[in-house]
C-alpha cells in the first residue's frame, strides 16, 4: 500500500491499524509509519484513499434519515 501523503510503500499490515468507526464499512483509519499521517484505507482493495484531517469524514454521513435508513419496521 502507498501512503497518499509521503508515498511510503509497504504491505498494508505495516500501517498501524487505528480504528474503523463504521463496523459495516470497509474503510479503516491507519497510520503511515514514515510520516505518521492518518490515512483512510479501503480494506477490500488494500489501498489508502486519503489523508484524514480534522473534521473530515471518510465514512460519509451517519446512517439514518441524513443518510440511509427509513423506518421499515413492520
Amino acid at each position: 500500500m502507498k501512503c497518499t501523503e509521503c508515498g511510503f510503500e509497504a504491505p498494508v499490515q505495516n500501517f498501524r491499524y487505528l480504528y474503523n468507526a463504521r463496523i459495516d464499512a470497509s474503510i479503516s483509519l491507519r497510520q503511515c509509519p514514515q510520516c505518521q499521517a492518518r490515512l483512510a484505507v479501503d480494506e477490500l482493495a488494500g489501498e489508502a484513499t486519503q489523508k484524514v484531517g480534522d473534521g473530515e469524514a471518510p465514512w460519509g454521513k451517519s446512517a439514518g434519515i441524513e443518510g440511509l435508513a427509513e423506518d421499515n419496521a413492520s
Binding site: Y19, I23, D24, G53, G55, S62, A69, D71, A73
Partner: protein, 832 residues
Amino acid sequence: MAAEAAKDLSIQELEKEGQWWWIAEKKRSRRLDYLRKAVWKKGALGGNYAPGIKVDLEMPTLFTNMYNWWKYDPPMLRRAKALAHVLDNIGIFITDQAQLVGYFGSMPNTIAWRLDGASIVNEELYNEPGIMPEPEEESLKKVAELNSYWSGNTAVDKLARVLDPEDAVKFLSGAIGWGAPTSAYGYSGKDYEYIFAGRRGFLDIIEEIDANIEGAEDRTMGMPGPDILPLYERLQNWDAMKLILEAAIRYAGRYARLARTIAENFETDPKRKEELIRLAESCETVPAHAPQTFQQSLQYDHFIQIICRLEAHEGAWPARPDYYHWPMYDKDVNIEKNITGEEAMDLVGEFMIRAYEVGGFGPRWAREGLQGITGTWVWTLGGVNQDGSDACNDLTLAFLKAARLVRVSNPTFGFRWHPKVSDKIMREVFECIRHGLGYPSIRNDPLLIQNSMHWHGHPLEEARTWVHQACMSPCPTTKHGVQPMRMASATANCAKMVEYALHNGYDHVVQMQMGPRTGDARKYTDFEQLFSAWVQQMEWIMNTLVRTVNLGRFKDPEFYGRPFLSATYERAVESGLDAVSPVGERGNCWVTFFTWVENADSLAAVKKLVFDEKKYTMTQLMDALEANWEGCEKMRLDFVNGAPKWGNDDDYVDDLMIRCLREVARHSREMKCPCGNSWPALPENVSGNIHYASIVGALPNGRRLGDALYDGGISPGPGLDKNGPSAVLKSCGKIDHVGDGRAFLLNQRLSPTQMAGEKGYQLWKAYMRTWADLGLDHVQFNMVSDETLRAAQKDPEKYQEVIVRVAGYSAHFVDISRKTQDNIIQRTIQGI
C-alpha cells in the same frame, strides 16, 4: 460561526442555525453569565487535563499529618479527626458574584487528590505532566513523601492483602472490569429523607447522638454480658460522628466569616455587600440548623456533597433537587414572595455551576472511561410523591430552564416520566433535548418502581423516592434503602464473555488464562457447545467481580470508614455502626454491564454463518479472529452484513439477546450482596466502549481490536440499526425491563431538522408514547447534526459549548477523543 458574528444575530436567527450556546449567553442573567465563564473545567480532554488545572496538595497534606498524629485511634475516629483538621484549615474562597459556597480544593483551579484510596492511583500522579503546582520540583517532593507514607496503607492495599491472590491479579489486570472495591471511590447515596424531609440540622443530629451515647454508657456501666460488648466500638463511632458534625459547622462558619470580612472591609457595591451578608447568614444557619430559605436549602445540600467529597472520592452525585428543595422554593417564591422567580433562577443555575466545578484526580483509565467529565453527576427530576401523586413542580421547570442557560455537561438530569406528567413539563424536557444538551434522559417511573420492588424488595412507598445512584440505577433515599457504597468495581467488560468462550478462557490481549477452560472452539460441532461455554464465562466474570466487591464492602469500615457519611444516615446514627456496614441496609447492588450487545451480535453471527448456513468453519473463524481479521476483509464484512444484528426487530438475534439476559438474571439471583440481596445486571457504558477498544480482541460481530465497541446498554451498534426507530424500540421491548435486569440504557440520535418547531415536539411525543407502551425503562437522545459535529472537529475553538450525550452522561464535544467523536457521529440518525 465566529463569536462576533453570532452576537449580532437575533435569538430567532440563532435558533434557526441551532446555535443554542449563543442563545444561552444572550438569555442568561449577567450573574449567571459571569459565574458560568469563571468556572474552571475539570473534566479531562480525552485523557488529559486542561492547561492550568493543578492537583491540590493542601488537603492531602493536612489529612495525612493529622491521620499520622492519631495513629492509635480506631479507624472511624482517626479519619474523623483527620478530616476535621482539613475542614478547619483548608484554604477557602468565595467566587465573585457567587451566592453559594463550598469547594473541595483550596483554590478554584485545583482538583482534589484522594490519597488514602489506592496506591496504584497515587502512583499515577507521576504520569501527569503539568498538573503539579509550581514550583514543580517541590510539589513532586511532597507527593513522593505522601506516597511513601500511604504506600501499603491505602484501603485497596489493605484489601489486596486479604483478597484471593488469583482474584486480585485477574481483577487488577483491567481486562474484565474496572474500579476499586472501596468506599474511597464509592458512590454514596444521601439519606435525604432523614436530613431534608426530616428537617434536621447537624445540631439536631448531635442531640440524637448524645442521647444514644448516654443510653449506651448507661449499659456499659451496668450489668455485664455479651450484649454490651459491641457498644464499646459504637461509642467511639458516635464520638467520631459528633466530632465531624461539629467540624462541619465550623467549616461553614469559616465561610460566614470570610463573607462578612469581604462585605465589611473590601466590597464597595452595596448590593453585593447585602448579598455577602445574606451568604454569611446562610452559612451561620446551615448545616447547624435546618434551612429556612431556598438559598439555605441549596447551600445545605452543597455542603453535604462537598464534605462527603473531602471524605471520599465520590464518583457520582445522587440527588433529587426539585423534590427536596421544593418546600423552601415554594415558601420563598410562591407563598411569602421573598424572592422573585428570576432570583431563584440565578440560585438554581449557580447550584448547577457549583457542582460542575467539582473535580477530583482520577487515573488515566478512569478519565478515558469518563471523557470530558470527572464523575457522573446525574440528578433526578420529576417522578412521583410517596403517595403516588405527581411530584413535578415549578422547581422542576426551573431546573430544566436553568440547564439551557448554564449549559454545563455535569450535572445532567434523569427525568422520571410517568403518565401523569403534564404537557407543560414535557415541553420543557423536550426543549433541553432540542437544545442539544443530551439530557434529561427519560426514565419510566412506574416500571422502575416495580423493578426496585422486584429485585431488592423495597416497599412501594420507599421505592417511589428513588434517585439515580450513578448514571442509571435507581436507589431509594430512605433509612433502609439508601446505599452508602457502590464502587465502580462491579463493572463487567462483557465483551470478554464471548471472547473467552471462543478462546478457552485465555485472554490474548493481556496474555493470561483468565476464565475457566471451557473447550477448544475449533472443535465445536454445534452452537449449544459455544453457548454453554459462554454461560460459564459469564458466570466466572460476574462471580470474580462480585466476590471482590462483596469483600471490599464487608471490610470497608475497618480499612476505610465514613464518619461524615455515617453522621448523615439515620440507620448509622441510630446504631453507631459505620454507614458502609451492611447491617440495616436492604441492599441495592447491581453489576454494570459495559460492552454487552456485542455478545448477542457475535453469537448470532457464529450461529448463522458457521452452524446454520455452514458458510465458514469454526477453524476459519478462529484463524480470522486470531489475525484480527487482517487479510479477511470480505469474510469480516460477511459477519457484519450477512448476519442479523440487534436493533432491527429480527427474532433470530433478539431471541439470543433474551436468552443471554435470562441466563444472567438467573445467576444474578444466585449471587448475593453482603446485605443478602441480588446482583442484577445493568447494561450501560459511560465511555468504556472507547477505553476497552484496545483491550477487547477481535469478535465475530466483525469488530477488530482497536475499534470502539458499541455505544452501550442495549443500544444497537452504530449504523447497524437499519430498520428505523420503531424496529429499535421493538427489539428493546422484547426485554422484560423488570425481571431481566436493573435497567437498560438506550441511546438514540434524532435529526435537529426533523425535530424543529411544534411538529417536532408532537413527533417526539408520539415516539415517547410508543416507548412507554413497549415498556422500556430508559432512553436518551443526541440531537446535534453531523454538520455541526464535523465543524466542531475541524474548528474546536468555535464550538467549545457543543454538548453531546456520550452514554449515561453528557460531555462537551470538543473534550472527548477523536475516536469517541467519530463513534458518536456514526450513530444512526433516526427519522421518526
